[in-house]
């Protein structure tokens, strides 16, 4: 992966979209030694500066994917911290949070420290990796993990993702305990008995295909319970990869009551429906599953009205062979880092569901706020932490050119409008070689 030092770089004629500073204008940015030295349309070519013509491109505060499976330790044949960071940078992300369903699980501070150390060495340190640790020891849902130690080592939130925190008592105590150091509990909302054996959304498609279903209600009942617990404890609660219309309604209600409740959705849940499963392509199998057209409509409404806070990818790498099996035998999950900007632009911004400014909130501002990470601004004197993308570049997804170690995406061959061009962070810059704009 070709990275350079951002020692003396001018991004010329770029559109800055910085919602926190209330800025949306076309100008030029001069970056020196990783910091923004000057912003202005009349920047004279500074001595020795590399000038990049960025006409038509957007520079936003660095995008942050708060739901990524880096698979290390334990599943390095699927992804590693290094390849995951490469994939993130190629997708335009300058930061990610990684999930604890590794082997061993991230339920011990040593694992948090190991992942952070590896991330500092990957891609020149361009991608900030903030691990999310397990709620319970071994993610078994029985005893709390050492949350205070994990937080001290750098864990920014807690989840048993991959599995739900199923026991209401454990969830209640986790919310209480984590609130002492102001960390959210993130829930993979799935009622396990209701989804036993399930591999796709329960509905007309599962009926026709004869595949065991996972009803949307199995997601909603857990969220409804957890909202009650969040209200009771005052703990901060975040719903991962929300996929149903019922859940959107529950979050809307919780927010209207002023509870500390937020949620994320993935691009595949607002782009595809369970109709895609008819091919029996195992890259349409993920958990939560692709839902009905009504669910997708409700998610689009939630993105539009602000009920939904974050777009996160649930980047879940699996090797080729693992997915080359019968649908029911395949593992859940698809990768998403390198298609997130393209899908969001194509399905949301170009279709006028949301504006580019709102997209920046969903992909940068809000995930950082939920995880209590420092704000990123595109202003003079700030460290340069930027995502560069071209809103109008047309491209066809070619998984063989991904930087991720895995290729499991249902979007191979899809034609998208909007493409990541580069990422700048921690004094390092990466320009995507496949983008025509770079």
């Amino acid at each position: 992966m070709n990275i350079e030092r951002a020692s003396n770089l001018i991004l010329r004629n770029v559109r800055i979209v910085d919602p926190l500073s209330g800025v949306d204008k076309i100008t030029s940015i001069h970056i020196v030694d990783g910091s923004i030295k000057a912003i202005g349309s009349s920047l004279s070519a500074a001595k020795g500066a590399v000038v990049r013509e960025c006409e038509g491109m957007v520079a936003a505060p660095g995008f942050f994917d708060m739901h990524v499976h880096l698979r290390e330790p334990g599943f390095e044949h699927k992804e590693t911290v290094e390849t995951g960071c490469m994939s993130a940078a190629a997708g335009g992300f300058t930061g990610v949070s990684c999930m604890p369903n590794t082997n061993p699980a991230i339920d011990d501070e040593s694992v948090v420290r190991m992942i952070r150390a590896k991330a500092r060495d990957a891609v020149g340190g361009l991608v900030d990796v903030h691990p999310i640790a397990a709620v319970s020891l071994g993610r078994k849902g029985e005893r709390l993990a050492p949350l205070a130690e994990l937080a001290a080592a750098g864990a920014v939130a807690f989840t048993d993702d991959g599995d739900p925190v199923h026991d209401a008592e454990i969830m209640r105590r986790a919310l209480e305990y984590a609130s002492m150091f102001n960390k959210p509990i993130i829930q993979h909302a799935q009622d396990m008995p209701m989804t036993r054996g399930g591999v796709m959304n329960e509905g007309f498609c599962s009926t026709e295909l004869g595949l065991p279903g996972m009803p949307g209600a199995a997601e909603d009942v857990v969220i409804a319970r957890d909202i009650t617990l969040s209200g009771y404890t005052g703990g901060q609660y975040h719903v991962a990869h929300m996929s149903t219309g019922g859940a959107v309604e529950l979050i809307r209600m919780a927010k209207s009551r002023g509870l500390r409740v937020t949620c994320e959705v993935t691009p595949h849940h607002f782009v595809l429906t369970d109709d895609a499963v008819r091919t029996f392509d195992t890259n349409t199998k993920m958990n939560p599953p692709l839902r009905s057209a009504d669910d997708v409509a409700a998610i689009l409404a939630g993105l539009k009205d602000g009920t939904i806070d974050v777009i996160a990818t649930d980047h879940a790498p699996h090797s080729y062979d693992e997915k080359q099996v019968e649908y029911q035998a395949a593992p859940f999950g698809i990768i998403g880092l390198e298609t997130a900007i393209g899908l969001t632009m194509t399905a949301l911004v170009h279709k006028k569901v949301i504006t580019i400014e709102r997209m920046v909130q969903l992909l940068s501002v809000n995930p950082r706020a939920i995880l209590h990470l420092p704000e990123i601004r595109v202003t003079e004197g700030s460290m340069a932490n930027l995502t560069l993308f071209h809103p109008d570049e047309q491209w066809v997804v070619d998984p063989s050119r991904f930087y991720s170690r895995s290729r499991n995406t249902p979007f191979g061959g899809s034609s998208l409008k909007g493409r990541p061009v580069g990422a700048i962070n921690n004094g390092v810059v990466f320009f995507h070689p496949h983008s025509a704009a770079s």
Partner: protein, 306 residues
């Protein structure tokens, strides 16, 4: 005459003329089965692999007999006795068998969609002998053949499928085939075993047998899986028999004789009382005989059409 598809994966979306072609062809082979010498030569030199990843007796024997009656060379396995139990993938198993120059693969699999997947990774023609709860096209075709044999038509008849529709590939393939040929189709079973949105397939849903019996021509009674998640879908076999068991007393409410079908194997006195199973309106053994002829027709059409 040729079929539109080079595989038989399911009846969903199959054109009615293809279904009729299979039934007509099966009619010719049905006559062969009544001859003293029940063997004909059209598949001489063809090799067919029967890959059964799920236990089956009658479907496997029926296919094997059909293949031998057509003079094909036959090999096969039922999982447990092959490399499958050693953890080899379906793709590798199938490709290894294909490497021995096999022309067709007949596959039974516990996973819905497995034959669709297989048809994408091997060159040989694939015949679905039942996949998960998805489709069992040859069973539905032999059911159609048996109905047509008895009534001389399918169009306009009312056929009700009784029992566990949720887990039944037989029900799904029957619904597609019967609707395609113009029959009226309904299902009757406990609410826990009627899958979501089934009515979108154009079938009427009943929960009480007595409501549907007066208007049906055929009851196709499905096998209830005794081991099926005991207590999750229905409380007990006793209660199931009381509610959905097809008995002579229940059938006496019909105005005309009701033809009884069952894909087998029967749980006697659970879904079907013994006197009904063996009664004068039962065509259950005709189904078994016709199954051989229908499978001969499918094998013949796919082998000679490609």
């Amino acid at each position: 005459m040729k079929l539109k598809s080079r595989h038989l994966l399911g009846l969903r979306g199959m054109p009615p003329e293809d279904i009729r072609l299979i039934l007509d062809t099966a009619g010719s082979f049905r006559e062969v089965l009544d001859r003293p010498i029940k063997k004909v030569p059209p598949l001489q030199g063809k090799t067919i692999a029967n890959m059964f990843f799920e236990n089956s007796t009658r479907t496997r024997l029926s296919f094997e007999l059909a293949e031998r009656r057509l003079s094909a060379d036959v090999l096969g396995f039922q999982s447990g006795g092959s490399s499958v139990s050693k953890g080899e993938s379906l793709k590798d198993t199938a490709r290894n068998i294909e490497a021995m120059k096999v022309d067709m693969v007949v596959m039974r699999h516990w996973a819905s969609g497995a034959p669709h997947y297989l048809s994408g990774v091997i060159e040989a023609a694939v015949i679905n002998a039942g996949d998960g709860a998805h489709e069992h096209p040859t069973q539905a075709l032999l059911d159609l053949f048996t109905i047509q044999e008895k009534f001389k038509k399918v169009e306009g008849l009312h056929i009700c499928l009784v029992g566990d529709i949720l887990h039944s590939r037989v029900a799904r393939s029957n619904i597609y085939g019967l609707k395609s040929l113009g029959a009226k189709v309904s299902v009757c079973g406990p609410a826990t075993m009627i899958p979501r949105g089934l009515e979108q397939l154009g079938v009427d849903v009943y929960h009480h047998l007595d409501d549907v019996i007066p208007s049906v021509d055929v009851l196709n009674v499905l096998r209830i899986q005794l081991e099926r998640d005991a207590g999750r879908f229905f409380p007990s076999l006793r209660e199931y028999h009381q509610t959905y068991g097809v008995t002579l007393r229940r059938l006496s409410r019909a105005e005309r004789p009701v033809t009884i079908m069952h894909p087998g194997p029967i749980n006697r006195d659970v879904e079907l009382s013994a006197d009904v199973a063996d009664g004068e309106h039962s065509v259950i053994l005709r189904q078994v005989l016709n199954g051989v002829a229908v499978r001969m027709a499918v094998l013949y059409l796919l082998a000679t059409g490609n």
